[in-house]
Amino acid sequence: MKAIVNVYLKQGVLDPQGKAAHHALESLGFHGIEDVRIGKQIVIKLDSMSKEEAITKVKEMSETLLANTVIEDYDIEIVQ
């Protein structure tokens, strides 16, 4: 099974890369963009286990290492 962790800067924390991409998209003629946030996706291959167990485990990984919760939020998706 696979866990997908998306890590991104918290709302309210300025995202300089997102801001730059937003600006670049507009200068390329793409309009109607409200906001751009850039994050990273971490894909973890796991041994088979229950979905609950996987979520608990990956949550711990995220809190410990994958995200810096001072500035970042994350969400977890489990794919069979």
């Binding site: 730059a20 600006h23 670049a24 200068s27």
Partner: protein
Amino acid sequence: MSAIENIESVLKSHKLSPAEYEHIKEILHREPNIVEIGIFSAMWSEHCSYKSSKKYLNGFPTKAPWVIQGPGENAGVIDVGDGVAAVFKMESHNHPSYIEPFQGAATGVGGILRDVFTMGARPVANLNSLRFGSIKGSDNINKYQRHLVRGVVEGIGSYGNCMGVPTVGGEVSFDDSYNGNILVNAFALGLVKHEDIFLGVAKGIGNPVIYVGSKTGRDGLGGAVMSSDSFTEESKSLRPTVQVGDPFTEKLLLEACLELFATDHVVGIQDMGAAGLTSSSFEMAGKTGAGMIMNLDKVPAREEGMSPYDFMLSESQERMLICAKQGSEQAIIDIFEKWGLDAAVIGEVTDTGRMELFWYGEKCADMPIAPVSEEAPILDRPTLRPSYLDAVNAKNISDYPVVTNQEAFEKLLSSLEVVDKAWIYEQYDSMVQTNTIKRPGSLDASVIRIKQNDKAIAMSADCNPRYCYIDPFKGAALAVIESGRNVAMSGARPLAITDCLNFGNPENPEVMWQFAQACEGIKEACATLNTPVVSGNVSLYNETNGVSVFPTPAIAMVGLNDDCNKVLQSSFQKEGNTLLMVGQTKGEFGGSLYIKELFGETTGKIGEIDYTTELRLWDFVINANKKGLLESAKDLGMGGVAIALAKMSAISGLGVEANIKLNNTNEIFDESQSRAVFEVAPEHVNDVVKMASDLGLHIDAIGSIKGDNFTLNDVSMTVKQLQSIYFDTFKKTIEQDL
């Protein structure tokens, strides 16, 4: 070992000619298999064999009492006093950088750093020499060129910064001739004790051959073959063959290698660069006449399903091949494991003179080493004096309309070749290792302290492609001279060069003529100035859709200053000091910035080169500086004395009042050689004038450092305005589409 079907198409895809195939069969006494074809193709590629260029590279002056190692090793080595040696080389990564600028440039830096630390040296300085197409304007070409500049700079920074090696300087210029082929030349210099220098040799029957570093993937398969070809519209599809760099792994490899070198386990070591395991193994055994067995199934692999062919030709980065002493295998593996790197015994040295490759016990290639590395075809390509030269040489400055000096000054000062490049060099850590005395942006040479002996190394990378376009011989000689003059201006004695010869398609006789002429120019200059060539690299096929780049023989000069506390700066130090100009202004505008910026052309002739005066100028500045008579010094080059003084003024924020007597008013922009300006304290003026006159140099007091205005003859500007043009223009240009 089975013979190959469809041999024609296999030869074509490996860029081997039918004649070369016949030669291969003679060498092997049979038909080659696919692994062997791949090996021949890599070893005989332009990139590895120098087949077009070898004829002209022979005869480069390579010896001097201070030269410890000339060309032929991973890098050249010179003595810098007290048992310390400087190891340095410059190398191109042009083709990969055009296709993927960030990774191309990054792996270029990674490669040159490996060349240096493979020799046992800790890298202490990087330089780079970059050429791009036109980055002004809003055409797609201009936009793409800006994208390339941003990517290349970021790539260089990411690798050098992570390695902890300061990028202390460099040069960059822009011309339409690079629109289809940018040039990315990276230079690295390291320091090592004489007795700790390692060479890329394999010897001692039974000694183990050990692979260390990153695992091997399919990166850059056929990279050496790619850079031996011109670009076409299809080139962008080559993207998968661009290697991805991992500076963190290379940093670990550096530390592990230096730790290993402090032991007594290593016989020889070679970096796996272009053509990876193939060229490293053949070169190591080829140098000693030994043979080698390698078990390719033992090579650490990153991907599944890789074949012997893939292992031999992969250009995965951050790998080394070591020939070790018998019995030291485990000790070596332990060191690399400590640093989290792979290390595997993959073979041993034999006395057969043959390279025998095995795949799970089965022989998959068996070739005599010497003929593969030595019998690469040396070509005598036809040369032809280019047809453009007559028309270009026939024009001179009087053929152009008169422009006021003020207008010309404003145009030249805002030229991208002139303005400050902080946008670039501030992305490079230039101060790590705490030795950087003369930083990027300080003009002329870059200087670092040698902590081991309190001397200083000065270095400068230079080439004026416009000079080389109108006269490849003199242009190349002037690249040597200018780099030497820059080094001398910091108070250091120029000692030796490394070169990176970037040219177009060698199959074009006019390009081959340019190449041949440039080589002769370098030979003349290096011999006369006693600055031998200790390492270098040739990059051909810098051509797109039939358009070749300007001939660009980039030269990096390295020199030594006996006292790190006596490094001369290149910008004004103090108001009230006198400005002296040494050398004669002869009205030379051939290939000048003046003609290019004002009239958009590269025309004219190069005047006679006066080596005697040049050497006297070097002696003068070195000796006057030793006596403490000089406050700052700057060579006069592109844009002439007007631009030199303007740069010094902008950087220091100090004004100038200067008046120079000239035959023609526009000669404040003339580019006559062997000239420099010196800042001298009033009490030393007489001594300095006497010293220069005694050496037979022409010297004039031209003004002083004074006030808030820049005033030179009929040109005038506030220092504030000067600074705003000098410091703001590049950023505005490069960031215009962000």
